[in-house]
Symmetry: C2
Subunit: 399 residues, 2 copies
């Protein structure tokens, strides 16, 4: 019997318990018949009616001091105390499996290093893309590649809202309300719609792909609150879908450029077809070409599926070395030097647009004017766009 | 230094050599600095101008008898002598990594069992989906799931032809010629267009997902040679794309139903958007929901990328237990009992159609009549369709 503890019995934590119960036969078959036992659940709340209610404790030390507990599943969410508890567990010699992107993005290098020193695991498949296999495939299956680019739809809430806006020809606020009514968006949706959630996830994928920790606060971050139906319509008329992407790429200067922003994605690119609450992550390697991973990026059971893959892995004593090193100076490129093509929608008149941007082809979009800038340095584009006045929106084009 | 031998220096074998050369730094970083050395290449031909020309041998025993050779990469293709050489290598205690779907589909259970007995690896990530990570993600990342269904576009040649037929409003033969001209189809394309290649790949995925070997000759197999542009147009007008799928699913009777056939795939399903030479594999698990893996399913470097992931894995001494057991009676269901909805195109008159199928809604398609049957048992559908005469075509609908 293998004893585990679950920290946090919310959406993901209770999903983990359900998967252990529901698929016990499949799990045992992967563990040479050994059974998994949830010895403790750490939560402030009590669950008197739950079959596992008698496993609930509210003191982390009970878990840390119990030598029978082989591994800890951290599904608390939030930075504190999840980070502190994870660190203590690792220092106590217990492997940790987490779904907590905030902790991995903020403290991954440190926790991975403690795990390595103690010859145990700190695994985080569930921290990006919910149940979609992405961390391990990138680390293991694409191991023979230099990664050139990652472009990911990493937030199901934003993707749902953008899809809804297009399908129902509606504005951001209306689509957000529908997403909230369906439980796809939280009452305070800012971490999702302002891009912070995507930012944390692209921080994790970039760190994994390029081997150095990239902290979220160093990543330029734009959300989708300024996108209108007119933008989406303009995009579709020109063969694009509007998607919020986490994006990182290695350029010929050897630096890695990372960004979270809405993009016009060409309909020729399969991620343009990833809709609703689905996530899609496109990885380009120098020998494999591009591969795409899609699925539900959140939810209790999908996320628990990824947590349990890590749990099985730790028990089978593999993949302890997954991860990356500490941050390194000069590793990241300055995103403002990044050359890209922009879509611009503005209330400035056509003559102003042409004075600033030269002979671009303009079109009416809603009660404004829209056009493509052609390729230019981000900083140059931003300078020019500033000249068009406050009511101007820019969206990048994905090559 | 880790010595390996490559059996067969064709498209994939030479790609493996190129990846080892091109990404040597990345590979060494995954092997704690150890270098990979291609000690031998087995091929009947000589390669005097190739930098590795002096490594070429044409006697397998030189490789089998050299204790310095840690693992063998089998990229010969075809059943014999690839199977015989792989078996000898495993019996000699050398791990084998293969891209050869024919050998894995025909003899996987036997070779996996020899590998297990000798505590070495027989790995085959490259045998399905070229460079797309699929074998290991299914085995490892979805390990906590019961697999409910697999639906895969597994043959790039067929997908290219079907995409081309739609885009250029052309017939099968014309699209095939273009595919041949571009090198996407072989001069003798029958293994691709008649579905045998897809059949081998779904045999491998089904064996892996459900744990028992499913031999290709037990899988009903239809190709795409009978598909016309009219079928594709009819499909599109009703919200479907036509795709050749390898499909397997576990039904409530506990049996697994496997099939290779063209399907109408709803545009709501992301695999409908997987076009050109791309492969797309959709896996449904009971906790993860559906996940999709896409990418180039063939080609020298993509396939070599997958081969090298296995090579790294074997060297790092992991995943020896990947695989499945021998075939089992009563494991497979009789596909003729499978209930599905069919699209039918026939030269039979409308009154004949209505006599046989009742009040179905018919439409003109080319110089024939087309309609959906509604859900029925495959054997019933086939009986009724036989009554419509020889010039009748049926295509399944993907739920």
């Amino acid at each position: 019997m293998i004893n585990i503890a679950i920290l946090g019995f919310g959406v993901v934590g209770s999903g983990v318990a359900e998967v252990i119960f529901r698929n016990s036969k499949e799990l045992a078959s992967r563990l040479d018949g050994e059974e998994l036992n949830i010895k403790y659940i750490l939560d402030k709340r009590e669950f008197p009616d739950h079959p596992l209610g008698n496993r609930v404790v509210n003191d982390i030390d009970i878990i840390l001091n119990d030598d029978d507990v082989f591994l800890v599943v951290e599904t608390m969410g939030g930075l504190h105390p999840a980070y502190d508890f994870s660190k203590k567990a690792l220092l106590a010699g217990k492997s940790v499996v987490t779904s907590n992107k905030e902790v991995v993005a903020a403290c991954g290098a440190e926790l991975l290093s403690i795990a390595r020193s103690n010859n145990i695991g700190y695994l985080f498949e569930a921290s990006v893309g919910g149940g979609i296999p992405i961390i391990r495939p990138m680390w293991q299956c694409l191991a023979a590649n230099k990664i050139d680019r990652i472009a990911g739809i990493l937030n199901g809430t934003c993707n749902y809202i953008l899809t809804k806006m297009e399908k129902e020809k509606t504005d951001f606020e209306t689509a957000l309300c529908e997403a909230q009514a369906l439980g796809y968006a939280e009452r305070n949706p800012s971490a999702d719609v302002e891009g912070m959630d995507t930012c944390r996830k692209i921080s994790i994928l970039t760190s994994l792909a390029f081997g150095k920790h990239v902290y979220p606060e160093k990543i330029q971050c734009e959300g989708i609150t300024h996108i209108t139906y007119d933008d989406i319509l303009f995009a579709r008329n020109h063969g694009y879908a509007v998607k919020l992407l986490g994006m990182s790429k290695k350029e010929s200067d050897g630096k890695v450029y990372v960004l979270t922003a809405p993009f016009f994605v060409s309909e020729e690119n399969e991620i343009a077809g990833v809709n609703d609450v689905y996530n899609g992550i496109q990885v380009e390697g120098n020998v494999v070409g591009d591969v795409l991973f899609c699925g539900r990026g959140a939810g209790s059971l999908p996320t628990a599926s990824a947590v349990m893959a890590d749990v099985l892995d730790v028990i089978r004593d593999c993949r302890k070395t997954i991860g990356w090193k500490n941050e390194e100076a000069d590793f990241l490129g300055d995103i403002s030097n990044n050359v890209t093509d922009f879509y611009v929608r503005t209330k400035a008149g056509e003559s102003v647009v042409k004075t600033v941007f030269g002979d671009v082809k303009t079109e009416k979009a809603g009660d404004g004017t829209a056009f493509f800038t052609g390729k230019m340095k981000q900083s140059d584009a931003e300078e020019k766009i500033a000249l068009l006045g406050a009511e101007t929106v820019k969206i990048r084009i994905l090559d």
